[in-house]
């Protein structure tokens, strides 16, 4: 269970998160949707301790990470995998080294075992014979898939996905969604996915939270959100230009 209670965060004079509370149930996929620039990625960075909130609390499996020591935070981080919006691959390493990196740093597996795991992880995300390529030789979609393989390779208990399928073609997008669903069914991780893939994300997620103006506007099962009567939620899902959400 991930629990966020009354979270506040400002950057200078700009308030990004304004009293946000959220509970992501254990073993379920929770999608975080909402207009761009509303702080969805900022919220993910708070969950993994990359950003410190101005106030409020975050509990990961019952343990608060607010003001925790670095060693304690690292212990909690070992439960996590994270896929960054811009992939965040190590550009001095090739694809193999990137995906193998968590295994080399966090396990005592032999080189042969690591090779097998890396090749298998890359095949799971639809990549073959790219192990020796450097990240600047990959397309945006391929980078995302390599980063996804890296995030999944340690089979973490909690996985945060920051727009895992943005910039991918529809077939790869569906394949990635299926991979997340299948991996979730096999390992039962808790997950929060920031996504703009509407309506596809409703098929993938168990729960959906709509973030608007620094707060959770509505949280519920996918069907509830899809059929929401809230004008903000329904405008966002329909993609209509008319409604309470203004572009500027």
């Amino acid at each position: 269970m991930i629990r966020v209670t009354d979270l506040h965060k400002s950057f200078g004079r700009q308030k990004v998160i304004d009293g946000l509370s959220l509970e992501a149930p254990e073993g379920e996929i929770t999608a975080l949707i909402g207009p761009s620039g509303e702080g969805k990625s900022v919220l993910l960075k708070h969950l993994i301790g990359l950003l410190e909130p101005d106030s409020g609390d975050i509990e990961i499996e019952g343990e608060s990470i607010r003001g925790i020591r670095r060693s304690g935070l690292n212990r909690i981080r070992e439960k996590f995998g994270m896929l960054f919006q811009n992939a965040a691959l190590f550009d001095s390493m090739n694809v193999f080294e990137n995906v193998a990196f968590p295994l080399m740093e966090k396990t005592a597996l032999s080189h042969v075992e690591i090779c097998d795991r890396v090749v298998s992880a890359l095949e799971d995300v639809g990549l073959r014979n790219v192990e020796q390529k450097f990240t600047d030789e990959l397309s945006g979609g391929m980078k995302k898939r390599v980063a996804l393989a890296r995030a999944l390779i340690l089979k973490p208990k909690i996985i945060l996905f920051d727009e895992p399928t943005t910039g991918l073609d529809p077939i790869i997008k569906k394949a990635i969604h299926r991979l997340i669903r299948e991996t979730h069914e096999r390992f039962g991780f808790t997950s929060i996915i920031v996504s703009h893939e509407i309506p596809d994300i409703f098929d993938l997620a168990d729960n959906v939270a709509m973030l608007y103006k620094g707060k959770i506007r509505q949280f519920g099962k996918s069907e509830e959100i899809l059929n929401s009567a809230d004008p903000v939620v329904s405008q966002f899902i329909s993609g209509s230009l008319d409604g309470p959400i203004q572009l500027i």
């Binding site: 990359l50 965040a88 740093e105």
Partner: protein, 238 residues
């Protein structure tokens, strides 16, 4: 200043924390040290040659050109070797350290390390600091030796100073404490170069412009700090 001090202290602390990463350290020694040898060789040779020329010109006024070896060696070992080595390494490796860490910062690679429960100081900063502290004295030693032979080439081969006198005066005048002070300076310059380089990269601004600005600031600040610190060390070690 407080943040810079904390950065240095934490980097030192992480050096002694498990696990030690010998491969990372070796890679950094190769980058900071081995790949700087050519530029150090070139700089040292011409510095020694200029010292040979200038020294000869001055010493002939007093009829003491036999002391050329002593002048060249003491200038290099005590002062020019450590300082010029530090300035050349700052330009070649210090700027690259800032750019590398800065790009890792803006492309969220450092965040990725943290999410994997790896301390960026342990992984990125400490190996560079150890490598710089090991590399600088070795590069300085190369600088000193090459510079002395540069002075010998001009003084002895071109200007006709007695070769025996050149090395005899050198051997007679250079003491262990001269070498010792040069080594101490180089060690501390190694800390300064890696500290400022890593610090500026770690706290870089936004985008390519931020990295560019951080790199320039790192080179300027390191160069100035090297010269200021050199003065204080010289005044203590004399």
């Amino acid at each position: 200043m407080g943040r810079m001090g904390w950065f240095l202290a934490y980097s030192f602390y992480m050096i002694f924390r498990h696990p030690v990463r010998p491969l990372h350290i070796l890679k950094q020694i190769s980058f900071i040290g081995a790949r700087s040898i050519f530029v150090i060789f070139l700089t040292a040779a011409f510095t020694g040659m200029v010292l040979g020329l200038q020294g000869y010109y001055t010493l002939t006024k007093f009829g003491s050109e036999g002391a050329l070896g002593s002048v060249v060696a003491l200038s290099l070992i005590r002062e020019l070797g450590p300082v010029l080595t530090a300035l050349m390494v700052t330009g070649r490796a210090g700027s690259a350290i800032t750019a590398e860490i800065g790009i890792m910062r803006i492309s969220e690679q450092i965040d990725a390390l943290e999410t994997m429960a790896l301390d960026p100081f342990k992984y990125l900063v400490s190996p560079k600091m150890i490598a710089a502290v090991i590399s600088l004295p070795l590069l300085c030693a190369i600088f000193d030796v090459v510079g002395i032979y540069g002075g010998w080439l001009v003084g002895v081969k071109l200007l006709g100073v007695n070769p025996g006198a050149y090395f005899y005066e050198l051997e007679k005048s250079v003491e262990w404490r001269d070498v010792y002070s040069g080594i101490l300076k180089s060690l501390s310059f190694g800390v300064i170069i890696s500290w400022i380089g890593c610090y500026k990269g770690y706290f870089t601004g936004h985008g390519a412009e931020g990295v560019s600005k951080a790199t320039t600031e790192a080179v300027v600040l390191t160069s100035v700090l090297v010269l200021i610190w050199d003065y204080f060390m010289t005044s203590v070690l004399l």
